[in-house]
């Protein structure tokens, strides 16, 4: 797999807005952003109400995912191009989610909404409607998803990458600084985790750094052991999806999992070890 298989630049996107078989999908942390203007023809996915079960803390079931994509007019054969705000945090999360349910062709728009806007490219407020499809998902691919017990067992055995900001890693903050400081019961990080903030994988305009720069970041500077399996985590699994994308999709590292329970789960568990400080 190469970078061109999983990532498209804004120029390519602009040239392919009306290409048959290409569906643009916007997923934002701020779920109202789409309504203020979106890439022409793009459909909206709401990560809170459509990608998360409203009762259980988990993804929607395979059946519900099939119904969701069918209603959005996305077919199994479509190439889905995901983009969103906050440097593609939730677009990367949705990318990982699509892979989890086995969608064949899915790509990220490099730089997401931010690059598109900084370029001064056009946004539309037109309502988008696509004919319904009969989407069929596969069973979840658990080779890319880590759960609590596997993460605890990974302490000292696998690469654990905490992709939150240094102040969250140290326990000074419990949440990203654009959110009120609430949620997990304890601050800190999983013992033996490396702190490689997701932001180090991106340029200031939200695009991903080059493969050479990414390898230097994770392997040379942070000390990622490429002979070992890797689990990435953040607070709820969206920033770690961004890092999972960099490691698994761009660098081609195998056996990389995203722990979507992340710190809101781990930091509230009874009795598990936690480290504070840097």
């Amino acid at each position: 797999m190469s970078r061109a298989d999983v990532l498209v630049p804004a120029d390519w996107a602009e040239e392919n807005l009306n290409s048959p078989g290409v569906v643009f999908v916007e997923v934002d942390e701020d779920t109202s952003a789409y309504d203020g203007g979106h890439i022409a023809g793009a459909v909206k996915l709401d990560w809170k109400t459509e990608l998360q079960d409203s009762v259980i803390r988990d993804f929607v079931s395979k059946d519900k995912f099939e119904a969701l994509l069918s209603a959005k007019g996305i077919s199994n054969d479509d190439t889905v191009v995901l983009y969103g705000g906050n440097n593609n945090w939730f677009a990367a999360y949705a990318y990982w989610y699509f892979k989890l349910y086995g969608h064949d062709s899915v790509k990220l728009l490099d730089g997401g909404r931010k690059k598109w806007e900084l370029d001064g490219r056009e946004l539309s407020k037109d309502e988008v409607s696509r004919p319904a499809t009969d989407y069929k998902a596969k069973d979840q691919d658990l080779s890319i998803r880590a759960f609590r017990d596997e993460t605890i067992a990974a302490i000292g055995n696998k690469n654990l990458i905490d992709v939150r900001s240094p102040d969250e890693f140290s326990g000074k903050l419990l949440a990203p600084a654009h959110l009120p400081q609430e949620q997990s019961q304890r601050g800190g990080h999983i013992p033996t985790a490396l702190n490689v903030p997701w932001s180090k994988a991106a340029n200031e305009d939200g695009t991903f750094k080059s493969d050479d720069d990414l390898r230097k970041l994770y392997v040379d500077e942070a000390g990622l052991d490429t002979a070992k399996d890797t689990i990435a985590y953040c607070r709820i699994g969206e920033r770690s999806s961004h890092t999972w994308f960099a490691l698994h999709e761009l660098l081609g590292e195998q056996n990389v999992k995203n722990y979507d329970g992340s710190w809101t789960e781990y930091g509230s568990l009874v009795g598990v070890p936690i480290e504070k400080g840097v």
Binding site: E29, D30, G120, P166, H178, L179
Partner: protein
């Protein structure tokens, strides 16, 4: 959940400013507020901590902690960086003018 709160001039009702260090303000160009500007909060080492997009009225807001911070703004019409020192929890207003 992790959804971004609306970037409004008034705080959400549950925020306790005796515990939270809230850095907030308006991004402007000349006398006009700038919506859809990207405002980054960098920590004392210059590391990215968080980013928000300004509201229709140019407002931004961060829930940080006491310490030294830098605000960095990007917009298609300009940019600006500004240092902030937060000595204790409370409200810290930092107007930002891009050029």
């Amino acid at each position: 959940m992790c959804g971004a709160p609306a970037q409004t001039p008034t705080l959400p009702p549950h925020v306790d400013i005796t515990k939270e260090t809230v850095i907030y303000g308006t991004v402007s160009l000349g006398d006009a507020p700038v919506p859809a500007a990207y405002v980054r909060l960098l920590d004392g080492t210059g590391e990215f901590t968080a980013e928000v997009v300004t509201s229709a009225t140019g407002d931004y807001r961060f829930f940080a902690a006491p310490g030294e911070w830098t605000l960095s703004v990007l917009h298609k019409d300009g940019s600006v960086r500004k240092a902030v020192v937060a000595l204790e929890p409370g409200l810290i207003e930092v107007p930002l003018t891009i050029s």
